[in-house]
Amino acid sequence: MSATMAQAPQVQTASAGEEKRRSRWEDVGFWILALVFIVIFLLPIYVLLKVSVSTLAQATAPRPSYLIRDPTWDNWDRLLDWEIIGSPLRHSLTVAFGTAILAIVIAAPAAYVISRLPRGVRYVVVLGILFTRMFPEVIIATPIASNFFEWGLNDRDLGLILAHLIRSLPLAAWVLVGTFEVIPRDLEEASAVDGSGRVGTLIRVVLPLAAPGIAVAAIFSWLDSWNDLLYAIYLFLTERTLPLMTYYYANRGTVTDVATFSIILTIPVILLTLFLQRWIRSGYLSGAVKG
């Protein structure tokens, strides 16, 4: 990023006076475009906040206003009641943490082994894991739901955790293979010479070095589970998670409650994503592009 900053002025000083004037107009155009994008990207969030502090009548009136007028906390007061939010919140949290922990426990050891395979084999395996993304989730969820009903796993946190792992494991494995790949083998060999067994080396040397990658994989899994509507709608019939609550309110048409629940659902996601941004740098993805 700093390189980009440093090079841009050079280009400008190189250009002649006439071009400079033209590039000023270009700059104005550039900033107008940037401003339009900023508005577009922030507007939906603003509207959600606005609707959540509006009355139902205000929110559904023709010609809605852009500014917040007479904010009311009624929606928040009503919905932040343990009777309403307690059970969905508990389900959502249990399932998200369960999925994140199990995703790491299952994916990390496998990812380590895959990362130590010869390059060609590793490439094929990782590609194979990513290809599971081609399956539409409904083709898996339909029989899974039938099976889980037979096994009595419907409306149970465990059932939803098992279902969410279907989505989380490939992504966690992919992130973790990338993490383990860059840990030099020399370190392991050195530790082996010191007399540590292979499992000892894994736990004492490799695992601490992989901690940031493991955290990223865990957060991805947590987020995928927290955001999920598809498996929840298939598996939870009487119980509800937070996304299911949002969906049911949307179905019933109480738009103010949809907005309020949407914000409740979004807050942890936005916090975790901000935290993740240190890792979702462009360089992180460029490795994936180059394969």
């Binding site: 980009t4 809605p64 955001n227 979004t266 180059k290």
Partner: protein, 315 residues
């Protein structure tokens, strides 16, 4: 855990051998045994993931394919499930909507994503803040992106309000209906939610092109446009392909946004499968799911064969 016998025995050999030189001899003689033991550990580490992918992904896909070809509740082979769905208007709508949404959504996402990526590749004051704002939708659940769009595409929504204020339309448009308008509404929500991902992938590609920073900075006028078309874009093809395939696959599978925005009024393939399943028609649901899988596979194979290969020839 189960791995402990492995370490235990390795550790004993090492300590018994004492001197490092002497240690190599017994090691060599039992190399096969050691290799077996090491791979046994590898197998134990890999097994849970492999078994999970097998039993919770591949077997269900097989089950769906099987279910789609048998009469409900029996084991009799039949094409009736496919016959049934292709004759239902709800399915035809779901099919065309899914393709329409994918075409519209992915096209808009690639164009907007490319513009923003090129803007970000240019150094400017406030780039960091701009980047953070553009990435905001990454931190919003897909379901919420759909819910937020409710306030835009409603008859009294902000999309109509903005278009009225800008003088583009004179009377409010009813967006939440089947057909092109409904597809556009859903594609719009998808555009907002997923453009940041496209931006990240394309930006990574642009930044890995040597000297590209200059080109992006000089993307002024016709010269800039030609440079982009003839130099940047061909070099960017791997990133474009990756973004396009990832996005198209997810657009074909679109569920959350469609179901929150329009429920059954604007069916897409995934929501059709769910509603058929929920109505107790597991076999026809499975048939629709298999057709969706085929749509995705046909698209990916066709794209890789036609587009990706041709651009490679040109290069």
């Amino acid at each position: 855990m189960e791995k402990s016998p492995g370490i235990g025995s390795t550790a004993t050999t090492d300590t018994v051998a004492g001197l490092p030189v002497a240690a190599t001899l017994p090691r060599r003689s039992s190399r096969f045994q050691r290799a077996l033991r090491m791979h046994w550990l590898d197998a134990v580490l890999v097994a849970p993931l492999v078994l999970y992918i097998l039993f919770f992904m591949l077997v269900p896909v097989g089950q769906s394919i099987y279910l789609s070809f048998v009469r409900s509740g029996t084991r009799d082979f039949t094409f009736a499930n496919y016959d049934n769905i292709v004759n239902r208007s709800q399915f035809k709508d779901a099919f065309t909507n899914t393709i329409g949404i994918t075409l519209m959504g992915v096209t808009m996402e690639m164009v907007v994503g490319m513009i923003i990526a090129l803007m970000l590749a240019r150094g400017f004051r406030g780039r960091g803040i701009f980047r953070s704002i553009v990435l905001v939708p990454l931190g919003v659940p897909t379901l919420v992106a759909g819910a937020a769009m409710l306030y835009f595409i409603g008859f009294n929504g902000y999309l109509n309000e903005i278009l009225l204020d800008l003088g583009i339309i004179d009377v409010p448009v009813y967006w939440q209906q089947s057909g092109l308008r409904g597809m556009f509404a859903i594609a719009l929500a998808d555009l907002w939610k997923t453009t940041p991902l496209v931006v990240l992938i394309l930006l990574a590609g642009i930044e890995s092109i040597p000297g590209e920073v200059y080109e992006a900075a000089e993307i002024d006028g016709a010269g800039g446009w030609q440079r982009f078309w003839h130099h940047t874009l061909p070099l960017l093809m791997p990133s474009v392909t990756m973004a396009l395939i990832l996005r198209a696959i997810d657009a074909f599978r679109i569920f959350d946004i469609a179901i929150v925005l329009a429920g059954q009024t604007i069916p897409v393939m995934s929501s059709f499968v769910y509603f058929d399943y929920a109505a107790g028609r597991t076999n026809t649901a499975a048939a629709a799911a298999v057709i969706l899988l085929l749509m995705i596979m046909v698209f990916v194979v066709a794209y890789l064969l036609l587009v990706a290969r041709r651009t490679e020839d040109v290069r």
